[in-house]
Structures are given as C-alpha cells and as structure tokens.
C-alpha cells in the first residue's frame, strides 16, 4: 500500500497539501495511507527544513510548497 506523509505543523498550506493528497488518491482510486506528521521532532528527523513537505513511500517529493492535485497524481503514477 502506498504511504503518503504530509509533514507540517498545521498551517493553511499543510492542510491544503493534505487535502490535495487525499484528492489525488481518490482520483486514482488507489489504496493509500495518507498521514499527517505534525510533531516537530519527527519533521526535523525526516530532514525537512521547510514545511509543508510531501513524502511518498518514504521519499521526499515536495518541500516548502503545495503541489496541485494533478502533480501529486503524476507522482503517484511513477
């Protein structure tokens, strides 16, 4: 199962990224786990210095910005 993690402390951009990731999963009709990581220590441990960040199956795919739904769909298809 695909694991999608959204790292961020909960600002508007983090929420938008989470919503976009959920929408992308819905569009692709795949089974994926979409997780919010809001713990600061966990974010630092992941090496993220600019939030929000998007990890797909443990790989950093976007940092400090909000990819649109289509972009996340493309990432998930790879």
């Amino acid at each position: 199962m695909t694991k999608i993690e959204i790292l961020g402390t909960g600002c508007a951009k983090c929420k938008r990224l989470f919503a976009n990731a959920e929408e992308a999963v819905k569009n692709l009709n795949i089974t994926a786990e979409v997780i919010k990581v809001e713990d600061l220590d966990a974010i630092v441990e992941a090496g993220v210095m600019l939030t929000p960040a998007l990890f797909i199956n443990g790989e950093l795919r976007a940092e400090g910005r909000v990819p649109c739904v289509e972009e996340i769909v493309t990432m998930l298809k790879e």
């Binding site: 600002c11 508007a12 951009k13 938008r16 976009n20 210095m49 600019l50 939030t51 910005r65 972009e71």
Partner: protein, 154 residues
C-alpha cells in the same frame, strides 16, 4: 541548538497574481473574498482587475512576469479574463464561480463554505489552463514549466 523547520507560509510558492472580477453580484463579491483568503494563505497576491483594465503599465508588466496569473470570474461573462487577455496577460488558471456550483443572485448572501470551495479549487489547480506554460519562463519553487512548480508535468 538544533535547527527547526521553517514554515513556508508566504514563501516558496510560485509567484502568482490573483485578479478577482469583484463584480456586484454575490458571485463577483465571492471572487474578492476568495482572493483575499488566498493571499492570506500565501497562494499569491491579490491585484485590481479594474487597474488592469485601464492598462496600468506597472501592473501589466508585473502580471506578465509572474509565474502564474489566476483569474477568478463570478459568472460566464468572464469580464476579468477578457480584461487580462485584452492587456496581453497570459492566464495560467481560471475559475468561474457559477461553474463551481455557486448560483448567481438574486441573493447577495454567501457562506464560508462557498469561499472555502473556491480557495480549495485554486490550491488544487482545478482551473489550470493546459497551454499556459511559458517557454523559458522562470518559475518559483524548484521546478520549471507551467508555473505551479510541477516541472511541466501537470
């Protein structure tokens, strides 16, 4: 002391200008409210479609140099989009409120859910114009291409 991550609020997104039509109907007023919220969330900067209409040189120049121009129209009259096109400003994303399921008038009322629906649609890129990529144009974020930071994949 360990470094802490910085929130990118207001930074790192592609540079965008938002033109709401700001028409008199509920749908027009909603474009304004959505543009204000988008500006507060760091999506881009609201600008005046009326100023663009009179051909303000500075605004036209700015609008041509940003990564993406977002136009919000209230109804199918598409006034703001026509204004942008008349000034030669390429529209990267365009949303029409009535196409988002919001009914135009006669009531002037709107709900916060209406605003949220519009703002979410912008962040999702629902109104992205497919052929809006500008060859050789710089973009924000880390990538090149259409202006959303996707590297031209969307």
């Amino acid at each position: 002391m360990a470094e802490t991550p910085t929130c990118s609020c207001g930074a790192n997104e592609p540079k965008r200008i938002i033109f709401p039509c700001a028409g008199q109907a509920n749908t027009g007023q909603l474009t304004n409210l959505a543009a204000i919220q988008l500006t507060e969330e760091g999506y881009g900067s609201i600008a005046c479609a009326s100023l663009l209409a009179i051909g303000s040189e500075g605004l036209v120049k700015n609008a041509k140099n940003v990564d993406e121009v977002l136009v919000l129209d209230g109804c199918p009259m598409l006034c703001a989009k026509k204004i942008a096109e008349a000034q030669g400003v390429p529209v990267g994303q365009h949303l029409v409120m009535t196409e988002l399921g919001i009914t135009k008038g006669p009531s002037k009322s709107y709900t916060n859910d209406d605003i949220e629906k519009i703002v979410a649609a912008c962040w999702k890129g629902e109104g992205r114009v497919k052929d809006s990529a500008k060859p050789g144009k710089k973009t924000g974020g880390k990538d090149n291409g259409c202006g959303c930071g996707c590297g031209g994949t969307c």
